[in-house]
């Protein structure tokens, strides 16, 4: 299958000349795993050292937190949720995008996802796992978190099924396990390719064990495809329900600014928005660091920029719906809260949030901005900061400015709050850097298929 022999138009659009043969794809994707001597890994080692240091910071923070209690954070008796809950919502949002990409884009037959779905799914796993830590870290008595699990016990206790905490627990754990299966099944054929390409016996054996003896049989491919498509159909409602449940953590309460029916869909859009920005940042890193320029192209950044633009408009509409329903509902506390958002003590953060989430993505109306990888990455980072601010402000504004005026209090973060936030980013980067060295970051069998006109007939 060479470049001359009729490359389908789809493949021509989504790959560069260097990746238009099956052999070239195999070579590009497997090089970081089995031909590591091809380039020096200085940048990787520097990034590894920094993220390891930040992971240590996270470990120290967690130990200190467990030793002394949640008083180390900036939370108080009014603002009882602080950074950990904002971080939780933000991380779980990032953890949504991978499965959205691999399930929704599969069902919509968007072929361009072939180059990005694998590393986006890995992002999902790591982000969802880190998100799952935060509710536990935020608990006053984290050692009892296993009481969320329904098991016959000597205390004759059962979980309180009406509690949003229980919904969270099941939504996250089901989603995480589901995502691992989805990811692993897509990985099996690629692990078999690596088993068959690797020269070192140990590497060969390890890939061989995890490839389960895959041999590319047409019958196996058929079953795998049936399973994969069915998983995609199941993944869409699961991923939507996951962040809806997170939205219900707020909406099921009776607080001004939280008790809103728009919250579940609004959280899902926000999750897609921040998740896609993270995918863009990782795509740029993988493309440059693992020499994948021919597989992850400017076209990919352009379509992802369009998705960000669309999501930005939906986010703006969601904010406007919140303001409108506060005004239209006429409830004093609701109206007072919206005024507090714009003019209160956290107003600077709120204005920056609106700038990042609603305004800057409009640069993507211009083709030049969409096709500049640097511009797309910088805007994506700002949007992701804006989304973190949104998560934080959802927590802080409502809790600081509830119904009881005498209870109003502000939140001031402590150093430990920031250390845990940046530590978790470092931990995520560490997991990701290790992933890049042991697992193929792009799905080889799906990109191969993209090249083959026969397969798509």
């Amino acid at each position: 299958m060479n470049a001359a022999a009729g490359i389908p138009r789809e493949a021509e659009r989504w790959t560069e000349a260097g990746a238009r043969s099956i052999d070239a794809i195999n070579d590009i994707v497997s090089a970081p795993l089995i031909a590591r001597g091809r380039w020096t890994w200085h940048a990787w080692w520097i990034a590894f050292a920094i993220s390891l240091a930040l992971t240590m910071v996270m470990a120290v923070t967690v130990v200190w937190l467990f030793a002394t209690g949640i008083g180390v954070f900036g939370v108080n008796t009014t603002v009882v949720w602080g950074f950990p809950i904002a971080n939780y919502v933000w991380w779980i949002g990032i953890g949504n995008a991978g499965t959205l990409i691999s399930s929704m884009l599969v069902l919509m037959r968007q072929h361009w996802r072939a180059s990005i779905n694998r590393f986006a799914e890995a992002m999902t796993l790591f982000a969802a796992a880190i998100a799952g830590l935060f509710p536990i870290l935020h608990l006053g008595r984290p050692l009892y978190f296993y009481w969320l699990v329904p098991y016959p016990n000597t205390m004759a206790l059962w979980p309180q099924w009406r509690s949003a905490l229980i919904w969270d627990f099941w939504a996250i754990s089901s989603y995480l396990l589901f995502s691992i299966l989805f990811w692993y099944v897509g990985l099996i054929p690629d692990l078999a390719t690596l088993r068959d390409r690797a020269r070192a016996p140990l590497v060969r054996t390890l890939f061989g064990i995890f490839a389960l003896g895959w041999r590319g049989s047409a019958r196996h491919w058929h079953t795998l495809q049936v399973y994969h498509t069915t998983m995609a159909c199941l993944g869409v409602p699961l991923v939507i329900s996951l962040h809806s449940v997170v939205g219900l953590d707020f909406a099921a309460s009776l607080m001004p600014g939280w008790s809103e029916t728009i919250f579940p869909p609004y959280f899902v859009v926000g999750a897609m928005y921040s998740g896609f920005t993270m995918v863009i940042v990782l795509a740029a890193a993988v493309r440059w660091g693992l020499r994948m320029q021919a597989l992850i192209t400017v076209e990919h950044f352009e379509v992802m920029a369009k998705i960000l633009l669309a999501a930005s408009v939906v986010m703006t509409l969601s904010y406007a719906a919140e303001w409108f329903s506060a005004w239209y509902g006429g409830e004093v506390a609701e109206r007072r809260l919206v005024a507090f958002e714009f003019t209160g003590d956290y107003r600077l953060l709120y204005w920056f949030m609106l700038l990042f989430n609603c305004a800057i993505a409009h640069a993507f109306w211009f083709r030049a901005a969409r096709r500049s990888i640097a511009a797309v990455v910088v805007i994506a980072i700002f949007i992701n900061v804006g989304m973190w601010l949104e998560r934080l402000l959802i927590v802080l504004n409502t809790l600081s400015h509830g119904y009881a005026v005498g209870m109003w209090r502000l939140f001031a973060p402590t150093t430990w709050d920031f250390l845990l936030l940046f530590g978790s980013l470092g931990f995520f980067a560490l997991l990701y850097l290790i992933f890049c060295r042991v697992i193929p970051v792009v799905s080889m069998h799906e990109t191969r298929r993209l090249l083959s006109a026969e397969a798509q007939q």
Binding site: I22, L212, R219, T223, A455
Partner: protein
């Protein structure tokens, strides 16, 4: 005792055509191997049906029902808590747990079904002994026929595969 003739092709299209011709000519097709799924191949091999989705539905539904039953029994009978006069059987709040765990259970059932149907994990397969079969997961397209018993038939089958565009034809017995 199984005997197979395995032929390898450079192109996906050549494999599909050879498989169609072999079927029309009455050669017993055993399997085809390719580095990515070929849409027409299961139909040529006569293997398009799968009950995987039905099993996934059953698995998912059963676990979801069990989860709901646990909620119902624990909240209504074993550990009733009157929380602000809310009904003990608060079904809207009870739906989320069965939904999430049910989808995961469907996925797990499907994964087990996938492994069972494919006979995996099976780390060694006799065809792996062929020098060159490792390219079936990389860039070659292979067709496996049940080898005819008589030598003359076997020779004609090999000649026929070469004519169909096979670059190599191997014979394997186990």
């Amino acid at each position: 005792m199984t005997a197979m003739l395995v032929a390898d092709f450079r192109e996906a299209g050549a494999l599909t055509r050879a498989a169609q011709w072999a079927k029309a000519a009455g050669y017993p097709l055993a399997d085809a191997f390719s580095p990515f799924p070929l849409d027409g191949m299961p139909a040529i091999l006569g293997d398009t049906s799968t009950r995987l989705r039905a099993w996934m539905f059953i698995g998912g539904f059963a676990v979801a029902a069990l989860a709901y039953a646990i909620e119902f029994w624990s909240a209504v009978y074993d550990y009733p808590i009157d929380s602000g006069g809310r009904p003990l059987h608060s079904w809207p709040a009870f739906v989320l747990f069965p939904f999430a765990i049910g989808i995961f259970a469907a996925a797990l059932t499907g994964f087990i079904g996938l492994l069972a149907k494919c006979g995996l994990p099976r780390l060694h397969y006799p065809l792996f002994d062929i020098e060159g079969f490792e390219r079936a997961t990389q860039d070659r397209f292979m067709l496996a026929l049940h080898a005819p018993v008589r030598d003359a038939d076997k020779r004609s089958a090999v000649a026929w595969l070469k004519q169909a565009g096979a670059e190599n034809v191997w014979e394997l017995e186990w």
